[in-house]
């Protein structure tokens, strides 16, 4: 696979052309804006966080998530795929996954061999492994991580509320 194909995996191109969850949910009770002033990438996240069901014992999860934004293929695909994998997670699970994603796209630590990873989010990480090629393009790491940083910002407001 060429360097270029490793970066722009088919799944990334597909998500960038047709992003999933590309709307702020009507029920969103948390929002955060992410902006990468150096390249102009912009992401707005909307999350609906609350008890999984009415008879639940109070555990809150991300019930719905969506985004709007403009940016490069990497940033848009990252946001699209992030919304897919964090839906249904608790805020703290999503935080952990954010950290695992950031490790995945960092140079040296990146490894597409996610099967070896001791993670409770193996399936999610296998999906996100499509971004492992970003690690070889240091200038593009911030494109992939913008949405995750925005998610962290939104989750920070959850923990403070």
């Amino acid at each position: 696979m060429s360097d270029l194909d490793k970066l722009y995996r088919a799944v990334i191109l597909e998500h960038s052309k047709n992003p999933h969850n590309f709307a702020i949910p009507d029920s969103a009770n948390y929002r955060a804006d992410g902006h990468n002033p150096l390249c102009g990438d912009q992401v707005t996240l909307g999350l609906d966080i609350g008890p999984a069901s009415h008879d639940d014992n109070g555990v809150e999860i991300i019930r719905a998530i969506g985004f709007r934004g403009v940016g490069c293929a990497i940033s848009m695909a990252a946001a699209s795929m992030m919304t897919e994998v964090v839906k249904g997670l608790t805020p703290s699970q999503a935080e952990i996954l954010a950290g695992e994603f950031e490790a995945l796209v960092k140079p040296l630590s990146a490894s597409p061999e996610v099967a070896d990873r001791a993670s409770e989010h193996r399936a999610a990480l296998e999906t996100l492994a499509a971004f492992a090629g970003v690690a070889e393009h240091p200038m593009r790491i911030k494109c992939a991580t913008l949405c995750w940083q925005t998610l962290r910002a939104a989750l920070t407001t959850v923990s403070h509320s």
């Binding site: 060429s2 360097d3 722009y8 191109l13 390249c39 403009v70 940016g71 293929a73 990497i74 593009r140």
Partner: protein, 454 residues
């Protein structure tokens, strides 16, 4: 002389040459001073029968490399230009042999360094047709030159209710320092708008010049659009209202002969590194009477005549504005760059770049969905563009994998991105060593972009 062996790369050969065979690089006089060509480098010389790209390219060591397995195609010249061998040698020479501080010691090395530094000032003065080398202040680059004028002239001469006029195509370096001044003194920053071609109509400038205008600060050439501004006409308008004129010449000096007296400006600024010279060296030129009227910039050694604990007497301009040890090797490298450009001549350089610009403009037209931004009648070899439904950063990354270096982003001109309603642009910018095959490589790489994202 640099000898190329099969095993070592050009940079290694260069370093070996500088270490081992250094004395052979430049003829020396008996006293150890280098022999330099004299006179104006770029005028009064026959430009000859044009520019031979292959001869030129051989002088730029950085061109001789592959990137991602492809020969490097360097089209990011508006960001910084590559350096010819003579510039690298001149800088190396300053550290390898004439390494001393300037204006300090009486020993031979200090004298050589001082001579070389002051000869560089002379060379810059001639290059822009200054009346005297004393009008040339060495700074780190265009940005520092503009900040120097902002802090040492504008703060003193601009007051509450006054206006500073810029244009909508300025680089952040010619916006932010004036915003700082306006905030400090209570003045107002006004911008003349850019039209759809990327030109700034003279009428828009004229309509914004009044008795309140104290300074008109404009780019000579836009770093994004390549537009050449009519500096002389703008200066005449400004002067008729009693305003001074500062020109950001960073993008002009590599491409055209600049004559500060013919332009009629009061301040002219540029960077060495875009003119094939070193980074970290730049020039502020100002008319001598204006320099003399300016207050201090930075204090320290080099800018004083005498210091007691109570009082300091300052040196005359230009030294008054050069506190601390200057970038001596940078100035000497800049001189080498000026001499290099002079041996080719701006007539040949601009003919070559005009031809390439026309070729590149036509070929970019072949790319589906490509929008060229900046189509003013008078422009230099800068080609900014967007491609429908592809973000410029993706363009930049894809063409990089084909060895093609272009700039993507907002190009330090965010107001201009807003003007053309794009978050960012891709930009190919030309220099004297570029060829039609460089343009062909760009187009081929853009076809890959089209294939992936189209």
């Amino acid at each position: 002389m640099v000898r190329r062996s099969g095993r070592t790369g050009p940079a290694e050969a260069m370093w070996q040459a500088s270490r081992l065979d250094y004395a052979a690089m430049t003829p020396l006089r008996d006293d150890g001073r280098t022999i330099h060509a004299s006179g104006r480098p770029d005028r009064g010389q026959e430009a000859g029968h044009g520019l031979d790209p292959q001869t030129v390219r051989a002088e730029f060591l950085a061109l001789d490399q592959t990137v991602h397995g492809h020969p490097l195609v360097y089209l990011d010249n508006a960001a910084t230009a590559l350096k010819p061998r003579c510039v690298i040698e001149a800088v190396t020479r300053m550290y390898a042999r004439d390494c001393a501080n300037v204006h300090r010691g009486v020993h031979m090395l200090s004298q050589r360094a001082t001579d070389a530094y002051e000869q560089a000032r002379e060379s810059v003065g001639s290059f822009i047709n200054a009346e005297s080398a004393a009008e040339v202040v060495f700074v780190r680059g265009t940005t520092e030159a503009i900040n120097l004028v902002a802090q040492a002239w504008a703060i003193e001469h601009i007051g509450p209710g006054d206006q500073i006029l810029i244009t909508g195509l300025e680089h952040h370096a010619n916006i932010v320092p004036w915003q700082m001044v306006c905030k400090q003194v209570g003045a107002e920053l006004v911008a003349a708008p850019v039209d759809d071609t990327g030109a700034v109509p003279l009428a828009e400038i004229q309509a914004r010049i009044s008795k309140r205008t104290r300074l008109v600060a404009i780019a000579h050439v836009s770093n994004v659009l390549g537009t050449v501004l009519p500096v002389r006409a703008i200066a005449d308008l400004a002067h008729a209202s009693g305003a001074l004129v500062l020109v950001d010449g960073a993008q002009a000096v590599p491409h055209m002969a600049v004559d500060v007296r013919a332009l009629g400006c009061d301040f002219y600024t540029f960077s060495g590194h875009k003119l094939y010279g070193p980074t970290g060296i730049g020039v502020l030129w100002a008319r001598r009477d204006i320099l003399a009227s300016m207050s201090l910039y930075q204090g320290g050694g080099g800018m004083i005549q005498s210091v007691t604990l109570d009082r300091t007497l300052y040196r005359d301009e230009p030294y008054r504005f050069e506190a601390g040890t200057p970038h001596i090797a940078g100035a000497v490298g800049l001189r080498a760059a000026i001499e290099y450009v002079g041996t080719i001549g701006f007539e040949a350089i601009s003919a070559h770049e005009r031809d390439l610009l026309a070729y590149a403009t036509a070929r970019l037209g072949e790319v589906a969905g490509l929008r060229l931004i900046g189509t003013a009648g008078d422009k230099t070899g800068v080609l900014s563009f967007t491609i429908e439904s592809v973000h410029p950063h993706d363009i930049g990354t894809v063409v990089d994998t084909r060895g093609v270096a272009i700039r993507t982003g907002h190009h330090c001109a965010q107001p201009l991105m807003e003007r053309f309603a794009v978050p960012a642009m891709a930009r190919a910018s030309l220099a004297l060593y570029n060829t039609r095959s460089d343009i062909d490589a760009l187009i081929d790489a853009l076809l890959v972009v089209e294939e992936m994202f189209g």
